[in-house]
Symmetry: C2
Subunit: 362 residues, 2 copies
């Protein structure tokens, strides 16, 4: 992070690092960050660096706006946001709550959703909070940490590139997921949104702290990494290597505001003869070998390009790619009983329990 009058900032220098790091921590989801990075570059060029502040630098009463894109990442890369969505979401919240928004926060730290809030914060003249509500990316609206604490995702504001808005106030977060998901599907499969608006004081408990600055450090390590990107990555976060190989099959279905599918990866080098199966719903859910799980949600499963160390989003997986399959331990909150009920393998329909990648490959 660079400094502006003592505060940390996202600027032209470290924005590409944020984009790289957010993709590694996305676990394959969050959407391709390239478009978001270009939009943020433009905004920073026009308006200057965006200040990043720790959550505890805000007053307890300050209103925080968690935001990002919602929907199928396969759609996001063709149905491009116009940059004004953050303003529309902010105006809807300010009308709803009758007071100003104090800061923008990525609701998930992953892919485009790590960088799009930078653009929105730049245009709004607001600081970014160095935190998020997932510590990675997840596909559904009840998969944010505040849900574990019984906090409401409502009111949620959805907007599209036509500047249409829909404001949801539901009885619980399951209904929110259902209604927002259907609306996003009606809007073409992806849209932008604000979720779980709350004060900085209320956000103290659910927020996963420091994820934005950690993504920047990860991106900077990868850029310095050179020949051995995994070694560079391991300097920033504990990483488990699951195997290396070549993508030999990839299958995707986009419907109902999600992309679901799987990839087959044939082992190469030390892993020659092995066959890995990756399954995803927006994000990577499990890596299987001979029907056994090598890693599962909520651990962060990421495909890295063997040569560059860059993370791959699920919609970017292509036949023939040489990749390294790695995993990072889940943010601790997700490995509690309540956390696993929300985002463990059984929450995605798998008939097995979570075993931490750290324990499994110790």
């Amino acid at each position: 992070m660079t400094s502006r009058g003592g505060a940390m900032c996202i600027d032209l220098d470290n924005l590409p690092a944020l984009s790289l790091g957010a993709t590694v921590f996305a676990g394959g989801g969050g959407g391709d960050p390239r478009i978001g990075e270009l939009m943020a570059l433009k905004a920073i060029r026009e308006l200057g660096p965006v200040e990043v502040k720790p959550l505890d630098a805000f007053d307890d009463d300050d209103l925080i706006m968690p935001c990002g894109m919602i929907g199928a990442p396969t759609v996001m890369v063709e149905k491009i946001p116009n940059g004004g969505e953050g303003r529309v979401i902010r105006e809807a919240y300010e009308r709803h709550f009758g007071r100003p928004v104090a800061a923008v926060m990525p609701f998930e730290m992953g892919g485009i959703n790590g960088v799009l809030p930078v653009t929105w914060a730049a245009y709004a003249g607001l600081p970014l909070v160095d935190a998020d509500f997932m510590g990675r990316a997840f596909p559904e609206l009840q998969m944010l940490t505040p849900h574990l604490y019984g906090m409401a995702g409502s009111p949620s504001v959805i907007t599209d590139e036509r500047m249409q808005t829909v404001v949801f106030d539901t009885m619980d977060n399951i209904w929110l997921e259902k209604l927002v998901r259907n609306c996003v599907a009606s809007l073409g499969g992806s849209a932008c949104g604000g979720l779980y608006p709350m004060t900085a004081g209320a956000a103290q408990r659910p927020a996963i702290i420091g994820t934005l600055s950690r993504a920047v450090r990860m991106g900077e390590a990868i850029r310095r990494g050179g020949e051995d990107p995994i070694a560079a990555i391991s300097e920033v976060a504990p990483v488990t290597r699951l195997g290396q190989g070549k993508v030999v099959d990839i299958e995707r279905r986009t419907s109902g505001g999600f992309v679901r599918g799987s990839a087959l990866i044939e082992g190469l080098g030390a892993d020659k003869g092995r066959l890995f199966r990756l399954e995803f719903q927006n994000e990577n859910l499990v890596v299987l070998e001979d029907g056994e799980a090598l890693a599962t949600v909520p651990d962060i499963i990421t495909l890295l390009d063997t040569h560059t160390g860059h993370g791959l989003v699920t919609e970017g997986i292509r036949y023939g790619q040489r990749i390294e399959i790695v995993a990072f331990p889940a943010p601790e909150v997700w490995t509690s009983k309540e956390g696993l009920a929300a985002v463990g393998p059984r929450a995605f329909g798998y008939d097995f329990d979570f075993v931490s990648v750290v324990d499994r490959h110790a």
Copy 2:
């Protein structure tokens, strides 16, 4: 209408007449009024008669709340509103506009939507406007008169029996129909809503005036009608008899927030040997004989019970019913070029033009 301090009111005496009249003018749609009538009875018993005022009795700046149920009438009869929806819609509008709602108005004068606003007005302590935006019932949100004048249906507030709310602000009324319809489907196929909120001054142009009091007069005529209900009906509105017969087949499909289907009616009495085919989408769209249209939207096509003269809603059509098929001329606004583009037979996918039932059967 009865009088309370000089003003017209809906009270325990004339509520059943409103219900009967609204069903005749519904053209088969608007939903079965029985539940709405029972709810309004309860509200009037608790809180007294509801005042009905002409639109021009309001100040030009007064905010009018057009409201009713939206969705498939087949669902409405089992998914019952709780009576508090009007309050929820009103609160959402008052928060949105930052000022109080002055009056409740049925957005369509038909079926349950003729009487449900009575309940909501009673609980809100607000008057009812003696007008609506259809002069009948229609199935879609761009089929309200303000749409013809380029006025916005947004913001629209949708709420369900769980008191959840969704507020839509779309770029046009076609998007509004698409997003609201999908949301209503997600909520189970029917919901309550406010549409085309506007000031009393703005409502002067699109409003179809006097439709609530006319429905009461129609209901009172039917109740007095005795042996010859059609004669009684013709005292209140010009009615064309298309045929009498027995329902010999009825087919319905409920999906996507609509009920679509058709009924076959075998002629009886003077019409013995004739076969009529009625087609509907929530509302009755056309009556065909030997492939020729006898009547089409936007004229109001209604099935009347031969013995009682009561109107039938499409979801109430049953095998064996003895019915009279009648039609009333459409409110004039719908027979303009713009009106027919919105609600003429071609708007519902038919390959023929509108011919007024008055001209056709002159």
